[in-house]
Amino acid sequence: MPEEFESQYVYKKVKSIVFGVLSPKMIKKMASAKVVTPELYDKEGYPVDGGLMDTRLGVIDPGLKCRTCGSKLKECIGHFGYIEIARPVIHIKYVNLIQVILKATCRECGKVMVPKSKVDKYLSTIETIKKENGCDKMRAYIKSVVIKDLVAQTKCPHCKSRQHKIAIEKPTTFLENDKRLSPIEIRTRLEKVSDDILPLFSMNTEFVRPEWLVLTVLPIPPVTMRPSITLESGERSEDDLTHKLGDIVRINQRLFENINAGAPEIIIEDLWDLLQYHVTTFFDNDVAQLPPARHRSGQPLKTITERIKSKEGRIRHNLAGKRTNFSARTVISPDPMISLNEVGVPKIVAMKLTVPERLTEWNMEYLKKFVERGPKDYPGANYVVRPDGRKKRITDEMKEQILEELQPGYCVERHLMDGDIAIFNRQPSLHKMSMMCHEIRVLPAKTFRLNPAVCAPYNADFDGDEMNLHIPQTEEARAEAEVLMKVETQLISSGFGLSVIGCIQDGISGNYILSELVKLPRRTAIDLLLRVGVEDLSRLPKKDIIEGNEIFSMLLPADFDFVGKDKSGTPFVIKKGMLISGALDTANLGKGSGIMLRDLHKKYDAKVTAEFITNAMRLGIYTVMQHGFTTSVEDTDLPHDAQAKIIEILDGAYKKVEEFIDHFHKKILETFPGKTMAETLELRIMEVLNKARNETGEIVDKYSTKATGTIIMSRSGSRGKPLNLAQMAGCVGQQAMRGGRIRSGYKDRTMSCFKQGDLSPAARGFIRNSFKGGLTPSEFFFMGMTGRDSLMDTALRTPKSGYLYRRLANALQDLKVEYDETVRDASKKIVQFQYGDDGIDVSKSENGTINIKRIVAEITGK
């Protein structure tokens, strides 16, 4: 292996991590400095020797050198120090364990409170549980069985002395028979506990001694872990941890001095308690019953526990999730003319992000040209990496020198170019389809461009959405992205086995127009197809006037057969790549339901399907452009007799409702079983009103026969449902809240303009007008109510479902299919013997199964 490549290979891999408790000895051994003074800097601003910012603990200032390892800023990772604590203090995180040990062991002889035989029995059970079921089960067993038994004893079986009551006065004070136990006493008692019984308290002798839980020395974290920031004024602002450590050291010094001077016990105890408080808040500043340590401004300090836990803590924020280089983010906009597989990248982005290319003898000339053009000319290069890993920026002055220096083994970080691989992402990334791989197309202007058909998996729209772009930097990463993440490989959802990408919006409207409405002269048809990008026109019928579906058929493979149904239920038949009957609508072109797309994918491959979707989108859009497409208020106009009919229906419903209300007041309304009369009335009224609204919808549907834009959209399913049309032209209908009519508001009425107890449709949120006709003020208010209700629903739902998702992901993340087809978790425990009982991958299936009917039909020819 050539020497210059070696630096890239991983030689060491972390195999396991062992957790343990630091012993006082270990703390001293690993420390490189003893901290003795709370001062940080001297007059000149240099770190004080033996202070908290000692240069032996690492450096955070440029120019200084670490006195332990000799390296400079950013090279030195920092070193621990320690302080000697004048009087022992209790570690807040082990208070409960200390209590248990004190309770379970004899105060005189330090032995456990049960006879030897019982101890041995417990020890062996614990050992086997640990081996067979792991630490968690062992802890559970100890907690529920062993500790319970040990703590219940009152007399020591070994020395016959009586056990006293041990209580904790939160947070860190121990009381024995209401007399305070000092940490010194506790420590001596813990020292007496012998090694062999430690497993009874789920402790491992190799890693812990109980007396270590009462601190006598405290490790001081390296300076690099708590860097200070220099404010604009030149003032230094220290990290929260440094503040806390300063408190500890200061009180510790005072305590030392007072002890040495022989101060009265009260003063010493006060200081001791104060030290305990500071050490406790150093570990955890959110202990119950303890006021949190605060800044002068009153905001609580962030100490060790706060640094680790919660969403913004070290684990979830910095370890489980990381920041990345080689990424870009900007607003997205649509471009149906680029392929499904592509992403349009603005030139400025392409000139900032780079792809490393290794220099060899063979591409020397090619790459030199990039370096020559430099960072300002597109396509150029921004950096050159030397074999020793040193990165050099290409500038006008350095250019000549770098060009001469270049030789095989160097790496040129060149600008993005068409065809490079990128990973495109939109948050929230709920799916694997929220991060897909696209090929780069460098385009003018300043937004990312994407084909509108891929909006669905990203759940994107163009009302100001922003998306992220990542450029993989190694060959492995690029290969993996291309093979596993490319858009065309993601066409079939792994959630339900159908297409997640299909034509949308104009892509569907246009094709619907093509199949239902237009015939084009041959020339226009050819023009249309050429614009879409279809060049093979040999299958185009040799006629002067060409049907719309014949034009569409040119996009299909010549040997494609398909039988299905379109949205209206009429048969949708494709024979030998020719659309014979059926309308082109969402049922076959759209996502989800689109069985045709799934079939295409099955018979050919992802590439053909992706190309088909791209072309169909384009064809639709060009058709719309050619044919003209608009939507207007006029679209919702109804003839007079239709309007009369709608009025008649609504009047009829109102009358019926009135009748019900009348029956209700006379108490002769027949009730549903298990319901009160009032509830029955509500159900009855809802039923009548809904039926009336649906009937108006039917009338609107019946009378809207002209192929106007609005109707084409609702018929083809490209946008809007028949319901929306009915609401615009006919009647908006009942506004429902919590599954019933609106009832809240004032006493016995919804608004002050109604009489108390008014149960009529209008007083309970029924909107009889259409959107076009215009709403009355009260109707408008009812709409506002439901609108606000649904807004609240969305706002409340997001965090709930987000948490459910997080829990699911965390619980299931390490389940995988093994080579023997079983599904197992990380500890190789079997969860399923065969994935999904048949081992079939959903994304390779057809809506979750193998399509038997299709196979039978294909083979038997029926």
Binding site: I17, K93, L430, L808, Y819, Q832, I855
Partner: protein
């Protein structure tokens, strides 16, 4: 033909084999039948999951992503207009949490053959509904002079359920020991055998209101509905064990939405299926589409230990062996502290730990590795 199918048994999953049988035309040549089976077999092989596929995460994604599209509206009418049931996201959370107290427990009671025809269906339904003493009594009073509690029974209500006053005596005397229960017409009197204070008597009066007289305990509402060509009873409140003991109930088809009850009465495998069914009901009701395999995996995960573990930090997540994986979920400090005491070793077998250490994760393309002999 059967021999042909036998040949493919084990090669093709049974459910598919059955489907082939149903879909093959009547007059098919064995040659063509074999060709079909061979094709199905081939397609099965092509559709097999790849080793290392991170099926768990895909399941979580599929359910989690769809979960964001569910409504929060708690109550909806499931099938019947008259009964409220929790649906949507809250119900999904309830199931996956493995909760023991459901907000709307429900049973679908199927009846044995002569009873499911609709005759006397109302009476059967009422006999299944739990009747407490307060439901059939019209008056409770204390006779201070004689120190007795008098209960006036509403005979009309008794008749509707099909009970006589004698049926009250037994459960009542069982519930109140040290008291003598006497029935006289439609009046039941309770007298202390010892000398009790008035105060005690008052307590007893309140206590006996809740005494269970007949029906299935915890079932507080019943509703007979027609399903297909038979009548079933939908109940609010669930008690599967007691329902199975009832003579009218067809225990082979009766179900509950209370998964812990299924576990207690029918075992884990049934509970697993119940989880799948319940999750599926929610998804279907919301008009969403999620493949059953994902729900199966979640259900298997919840039931793999033999008991039902919720997808919470106390349930499935606590079963993990890796300290860092547990710490990255919730309560990290607790996990690290207790791990330190035992000197626990994290073998870095799962996903998050390796992400933390910037190492390749052992799923998908990170799974295969090479073993070479070093000379």
């Amino acid at each position: 033909m059967d021999a042909l199918f036998k040949k493919y048994e084990g090669k093709i999953p049974n459910s598919l084999l059955k489907e082939v049988k149903e879909n093959l035309p009547d007059k098919v040549t064995p040659k063509k039948a074999e060709a079909v089976l061979q094709r199905v077999y081939e397609e099965c092989q092509l559709a097999k999951v790849d080793a290392g596929e991170s099926v768990g995460l895909i399941a979580a994604e599929s359910i989690g992503e769809q979960g964001t599209q569910m409504t929060l509206n708690t109550f909806h009418y499931a099938g019947v207009a008259e009964m409220n049931v929790t649906v949507g996201l809250p119900r999904l959370i309830e199931i996956l949490d493995g909760r023991k107290n459901l907000s709307t427990p429900m049973m679908e009671i199927y009846l044995n053959s002569p009873y499911n025809k609709g005759k006397d269906i109302k009476k059967i339904a009422l006999s299944i509904k739990e009747t407490k003493l307060a439901d059939i009594a019209s008056e409770f009073s204390i006779n201070i002079a004689e120190l007795i509690v008098e209960i006036v029974i509403d005979e009309g209500k008794m008749k509707a359920i099909g009970l006589d006053t004698a049926a009250i005596e037994k459960p009542l005397s069982k519930a109140v020991k040290d008291f003598e229960v006497k029935t006289d017409g439609n009046i039941v009197t309770i007298k202390s055998t010892k000398d009790e204070s008035l105060n005690e008597l008052y307590k007893i009066k309140e206590k006996i209101k809740k005494v269970h007289i007949s029906g299935i305990k915890d079932v507080y509402q019943v509703l007979p509905v027609r399903r297909g060509d038979e009548f079933i009873i939908i109940t609010a409140g669930s008690n599967l064990k007691a329902a199975f003991d009832n003579e009218y109930v067809d225990s082979s088809r009766t179900t509950t939405n209370h998964i812990h009850e299924v576990l207690a009465v029918l075992g884990v495998e049934a509970a697993r299926q119940a989880i799948i069914n319940e999750v599926f009901k929610v998804i279907e009701n919301q008009g969403l589409n999620i493949d059953k395999r994902h729900m199966m995996l979640v259900a298997d995960m919840m039931c793999s230990s033999g008991a039902i573990k919720g997808i919470t930090r106390y349930g499935v997540v606590s079963e993990k062996t890796s300290v860092l994986a547990k710490a990255s979920f919730e309560t990290p400090i607790k996990h690290i502290i207790s791990a330190a005491l035992v000197g626990e070793e994290d073998k870095l077998n799962s996903v998050v730990e390796n992400v933390m250490l910037n190492q390749a994760v052992p799923v998908g393309t990170g799974l295969p590795s090479l073993v070479t002999k070093i000379k």
